[in-house]
Symmetry: C2
Subunit: 335 residues, 2 copies
């Protein structure tokens, strides 16, 4: 395969993936656990190394990469016109009362570090990048009013309103994990009490059950007939649906696209309850809204990053040929 | 004064006002209690009569009105590309479990009735129209990310995101009165339980206190040292602020403009508490948001309606001369 190439970087709470693609499809995908110790340039330097590694892997030079799309967990702040990551999931200095993140960072200067070696770059909230990808290549094609929500370890989102992506002043719209849903609710890593993430995230489900490592174990207990697991998951379903209804009251959307491991692995349990509760809310606002699973599945993170910088002629070709379905397996690097 | 003229129509839950203006300023303002009995064309016909009355009052013909801006309580639905009012505050057939509205309407076909006699017309949710007016002439000038919230008998809103007004698929964005804030909350007229309107509206404050006709009496009791009034108002303040934080999590705004009779008449009691609770929410999202009272005061409804249809050369002149401050007193018609 020949260039030019695009790079896609997906920064999550636990891992970084870096992929390279040319117009024919994805050439290489590198996966590595995220490094959370050291100075606050650790993550930008890890991304830089992974980009270099990916280039070496397929024998291209850094200057053959025409653009880098970075999809990252947020929120962001702007300082001197530079986009800086200020995510409580990565920055120990922001994760109030949790103490599980082994650093004291409050800011991660991604753009300034990466721009030393890499040219054109677009950085977006992972929810925003995901809705771009699902609208171009997945379950949101042709929709002018469409909201993506990921139900995973945390809650993320992105939205088109009136055919346009919404950003807000610092690119943090919509950050729906932090809408309030309960007057007296549990604490969220962000400092809120009773927000959507504190009530329904994978972390919240595991916390409420106790003595498990992840929400998946609670779903396993539910499937085994455990009453406590059923109660916890039912409450999460109701609050998730009420969260969707709140977002819909603000954005008047047509379609919700739901992704994330908690949802995708348990659609059979979750979707019927979400629909039942959602359509119980103010009928005039809810009745003609469609709730759909995302379509890009395991490719969503890579496609989200590529979508940020993909030229129109690539988009057309990728929509026709769906090359992500034939991507090579990820190369997993030790952390 | 000579034409051409614009008409501004403001349809609220209890009254209709119709105003006419030329480039120099507001020529006449007519005010009448809203008619809620009869067929579902009662309100459109009342608006039509008031427009005719206003024209007669200053001696202009219907065809000298170059455009009509209509600011109305919502929400709206679209049927056959026509915007139709479907507001629980006006349509008895939609006001679930309330029975206080003396009709069984579910739809009010405003556009089709008015278009028989009046030419170019723009109909918008009153919150959307209000934010246009405040951004052109009031406290939101020059802001790209700005949200208007009215705290009155109900809760209304309008928003610019990234410098653009958001509408959503049926023009109902943002309808923030119907975001959820409590897991087990009181009923709202829309059918929700625990949404913002059910917890903080003027109606909710009066309901929680009991044996009063309006929220103003509860504020009077608060000022007189009544402990129950203080408790009710403090809870409303906290929920109002948490509602703002939720909207901010979705829209990542720069400025909230707060209006409405409950707020404007009691800024001294309400604003300090709203600010204290708002800035307690996720600091990265809340810390650089400004909360301001609206600036157009008693003129906001008229200016909202005019803003929907005002030509650019009028806007410039009105920004310089502020002619609304010299509008003639309203002519009040018996219902």
């Amino acid at each position: 395969m020949t260039g030019p190439y695009l790079a896609g970087v997906d920064i999550g709470g636990t891992k970084i993936t870096v992929s390279l693609a040319n117009i024919e499809g994805i050439s290489v995908k590198i996966y590595q656990g995220i490094r959370l110790e050291g100075s606050n340039t650790t993550i930008p330097e890890q991304v830089d190394l992974l980009l270099g590694y990916a280039c070496d892997h397929i024998g291209v030079r850094a200057d053959e990469i025409m653009a880098v799309g970075v999809s990252s967990c947020g929120p962001f702040v702007k300082e001197n016109d530079e986009l800086i990551i200020a995510a409580p999931n990565l920055c120990g200095g922001l994760a109030i009362d949790r103490g599980i993140i082994p650093n004291d960072w409050t800011r991660i200067p991604l753009e300034s570090v990466l721009s030393r070696r890499w040219g054109r770059m677009t950085i977006e909230n992972d929810g925003v990048a995901a809705i771009m990808a699902e609208r171009l290549f997945g379950a949101g094609r042709g929709e002018d009013d469409v909201v993506y929500v990921t139900w995973s370890t945390g809650i993320g989102s992105g939205a088109y309103v009136d055919g346009r992506l919404i950003h807000g002043k610092n690119g943090n719209a919509p950050h729906i994990g932090h809408i309030y849903l309960a007057e007296d609710g549990p604490p969220c890593g962000c400092g809120n009490f009773g927000d959507m993430e504190s009530l329904v995230s994978g972390v919240a489900i595991a916390r409420d059950f106790g003595s498990v490592r992840s929400a998946e174990e609670v779903f396993a207990a539910y499937r085994g007939g455990d009453g406590k697991a059923e109660e916890i998951i039912n409450r999460a379903v109701i609050n998730f649906a009420r969260g969707l209804a709140s977002i819909n009251a603000v954005l008047d959307t047509s379609v919700f696209l739901i992704g994330g491991s908690v949802f995708i692995n348990n659609i059979d349990i979750l979707l019927p309850g979400i629909e039942a509760e959602f359509y119980r809310s103010f009928p005039l606002l809810s009745e003609d809204v469609d709730i759909r699973p995302c379509a890009l599945g395991a490719f969503l993170g890579d496609m989200a990053a590529f979508s940020l910088v993909m030229p129109d002629e690539w988009i057309k070709k990728w929509q026709d040929n769906r090359p992500w379905e034939h991507a090579p397996p990820a190369v997993i690097l030790e952390k």
